[in-house]
C-alpha cells in the first residue's frame, strides 16, 4: 500500500539555483519520518516544495493518493497538511490567542477539544494567551507554531527543525510534545539534532546535495556508524 505522502524524483529550483535534484521518499501513515542531512542539503526546500512554496520542476508529489505538486499552498494545506516552518512563522504583532484563531479553520467542538488538548500540552500558551507573539521566548514561539499546526484536524504535520536555537530543557519539552502528537497524526520531521530525531523518528531519509541517498528504520541508523559519519558528520 502506498504511503500517505509520496515524493518521486522531485526536482526544484530556487530562482536559478537547482536545489533539489532527485528527492524520493514515502511517508507511511501513523509514523514519524525524519529527514536528515547536513546544512544546505535541501531538507527545508523539500518541505517548502511539498507545501507549494517552491515549484516542483520535475517529478511527482502525491498526498493520500492525489497529485498535489504545484497546487497553490492554501489548497495543499486544506488537503490536511499542517506546516511548522523553520522560522516558526509566528505573527509577531498578533497575540497568542489571535495566532491560534487565524489558524483555526473551524470553531466547532472537535477543534475546541484539540485546542484544549494542545493548551494542556503547552500550558505556557494559556498563560501568555494575550501576549504578542513577538514578545514570546524562542521556546514559546516554537510551541505556538506547533500548536497552531495541530489545532486543525490535519492528517500530516511537516515540522522543520523544531529544536533550532532552543535550550536543551526546552528541546526536551518539544520532543515530548511531538511524541504525544505522533500518537494522533503522521509527522515528517526535519531535524539536525540527532538525539531528538532518534527519539521521535520511526524511519529516516538522508538528503545530501538535493538527493535522497539513504533510508531505513531509525533504530538501524543508530547502529550504522559509517552512514552517520559519511552523511551527517556524526561519529
Amino acid at each position: 500500500m502506498e504511503g500517505l505522502l509520496v515524493l518521486k524524483q522531485v526536482e526544484a529550483f530556487i530562482q536559478h539555483y537547482h536545489i533539489l535534484h532527485d528527492i524520493s521518499f514515502e511517508v507511511p501513515k501513523g509514523e514519524v519520518t525524519v529527514l536528515l542531512g547536513r546544512n544546505g542539503a535541501g531538507k527545508t526546500t523539500t518541505l517548502r516544495t511539498i507545501m507549494g512554496l517552491n515549484q516542483v520542476s520535475k517529478g511527482t508529489v502525491s498526498f493520500k493518493g492525489e497529485a498535489i505538486a504545484n497546487r497553490t499552498t492554501h489548497q495543499i494545506a486544506n488537503k490536511g497538511i499542517g506546516y511548522v516552518p523553520e522560522d516558526q512563522g509566528i505573527f509577531n504583532g498578533l497575540t497568542v490567542g489571535e495566532n491560534m484563531r487565524v489558524a483555526m479553520k473551524k470553531e466547532d467542538e472537535e477543534t475546541m477539544k484539540r485546542m484544549e488538548w494542545v493548551l494542556e500540552l503547552f500550558p505556557d500558551l494559556k498563560k501568555y494567551w494575550k501576549k504578542e507573539g513577538g514578545q514570546l521566548s524562542g521556546g514559546q514561539k516554537q510551541m505556538l507554531a506547533i500548536a497552531r499546526a495541530y489545532v486543525n484536524k490535519n492528517d500530516l504535520l511537516l515540522i522543520d527543525e523544531p529544536s533550532k536555537g532552543l535550550a536543551p530543557i526546552i528541546v526536551d519539552k518539544v520532543t515530548e510534545s511531538i511524541q504525544q502528537m505522533k500518537e494522533q497524526t503522521t509527522i515528517v520531521l526535519v531535524e539536525q539534532n540527532f538525539m531528538m530525531a532518534s527519539k521521535i523518528g520511526n524511519r529516516f531519509y538522508i538528503i545530501d546535495d538535493g538527493v535522497t541517498v539513504h533510508h531505513g528504520k531509525m533504530d538501524e541508523l543508530k547502529e550504522d556508524k559509517i552512514t552517520m559519519k559519511k552523511y551527517l558528520g556524526i561519529s
Partner: protein
C-alpha cells in the same frame, strides 16, 4: 482662539478625507506590497459617479452608495487585470498603475465631460452653526464624525474579526497565512476592493468639501495619501489616521499663516520622518 479652533476643524476635516484615501492605500501597500498609483483614479471615479447620482436623484445617500459601488467594481477590475500580473515587481507596478490612473482620468472626461463641475451640499449638511463666537461648518463636522466612525469600524473589524486578523497576519507573513490554508489571493482581492471603495468614498465626500470636481484632482490628492502612508508606516491603519490628521492640520495652519508653504509642508514632514524614522511613525511588526 476662534481662529485656532476653525483651523483645527479645517485641518481635521481635510485629514479625515486624506485618511479615507490613505487607509485603503496603506492596506494595499502593507498587505500586498503594491504601489498603486491608480488609487487617485478610483477617488475621482467615486467623486464623479457619486455626484452624478446625487444630482440625478437629489439624494446624497444614494450618491455615497453609488460612489462606493463604483469604487468596489473598479477595485475588482484594477486588481484582476492591472495589478495581479505585476505582483512582486515595483517598477512594473508604478508604470502600469500610473498609466491606468491616466486612463481613468481621461475616461472621466469622456464620460462626464472635460469641464469642472460645481457641487453643493445637501440642505441638511449646508451652512454652519455657532457655539459662542466659534463658527462651525456642518459639513466639516460631518466629515470628521464619518471619518472617525469609519476608523472605529475598520479597527474593530481588523482587531476582532477573523478576516481582520487574517489581513493583519497577511501584512506580517503572507507565506504563513497561505500555509494555514487561507487563500491569500482572495484576501488580496477583497482588501483591494475595500481600499478602492474607501478611495471612492473619499472622492464623494471631497467633492462637496471642495465644492468643485475636476478630472486631475485624483492625482493631486493621491500624492497626499502616499505621503500619509509613508509618514504613518506602511500597512498601519492607526498610523494612517495619525499621519492624515498631522498632514491635514499642517496644511490648514500653513495655508493660513504661510500660504506659499502649504503644499511644501507635507513634503517636509515626510522628509523629516524618512530621515529619523524611515519605517514610519507606526511600524507594523513582522
Amino acid at each position: 482662539m476662534d481662529l485656532i479652533i476653525s483651523l483645527v476643524i479645517n485641518g481635521l476635516a481635510t485629514g479625515m478625507l486624506i485618511f479615507l484615501l490613505a487607509a485603503g492605500l496603506t492596506l494595499i501597500f502593507g498587505l500586498m506590497s503594491v504601489l498603486n498609483f491608480a488609487h487617485g483614479g478610483l477617488f475621482i471615479w467615486g467623486a464623479y459617479t457619486g455626484v452624478w447620482v446625487y444630482q440625478m436623484s437629489n439624494s446624497f445617500i444614494l450618491g455615497i452608495i453609488a460612489g462606493i459601488i463604483i469604487g468596489l467594481l473598479l477595485g475588482l477590475v484594477t486588481e484582476r487585470l492591472i495589478v495581479r500580473p505585476v505582483y512582486g515587481n515595483h517598477i512594473q507596478q508604478i508604470l502600469i498603475t500610473l498609466g491606468f490612473m491616466l486612463v481613468l482620468q481621461e475616461m472621466i472626461k469622456v464620460v462626464f465631460g472635460p469641464d469642472q463641475k460645481a457641487v453643493f451640499p445637501p440642505e441638511y449638511l449646508a451652512g454652519s452653526f455657532m457655539i459662542g463666537d466659534i463658527v462651525l461648518i456642518k459639513y466639516r463636522l460631518f466629515i470628521i464624525v464619518i471619518g472617525l466612525l469609519i476608523f472605529i469600524l475598520a479597527t474593530i473589524i481588523l482587531k476582532k474579526s477573523r478576516i481582520g486578523l487574517i489581513v493583519r497576519a497577511g501584512v506580517m507573513d503572507k507565506e504563513m497565512v497561505q500555509s494555514l490554508g487561507i487563500n491569500i489571493k482572495l484576501v488580496f482581492m477583497l482588501v483591494f476592493m475595500v481600499g478602492a471603495g474607501l478611495a471612492a468614498l473619499s472622492g464623494v465626500f471631497h467633492s462637496i468639501y471642495s465644492g468643485v470636481i475636476y478630472a486631475e484632482m485624483g492625482l493631486e490628492f493621491s500624492i497626499l495619501a502616499f505621503i500619509v502612508v509613508v509618514i504613518g508606516g506602511m500597512g498601519s491603519f492607526s498610523g494612517s489616521l495619525f499621519a492624515a490628521i498631522l498632514v491635514g492640520l499642517a496644511q490648514a495652519f500653513m495655508a493660513y499663516y504661510v500660504p506659499a508653504l502649504s503644499l511644501a509642508v507635507n513634503m517636509l514632514l515626510m522628509v523629516i520622518v524618512l530621515i529619523f524614522r524611515p519605517q514610519g511613525l507606526f511600524q507594523v511588526k513582522e
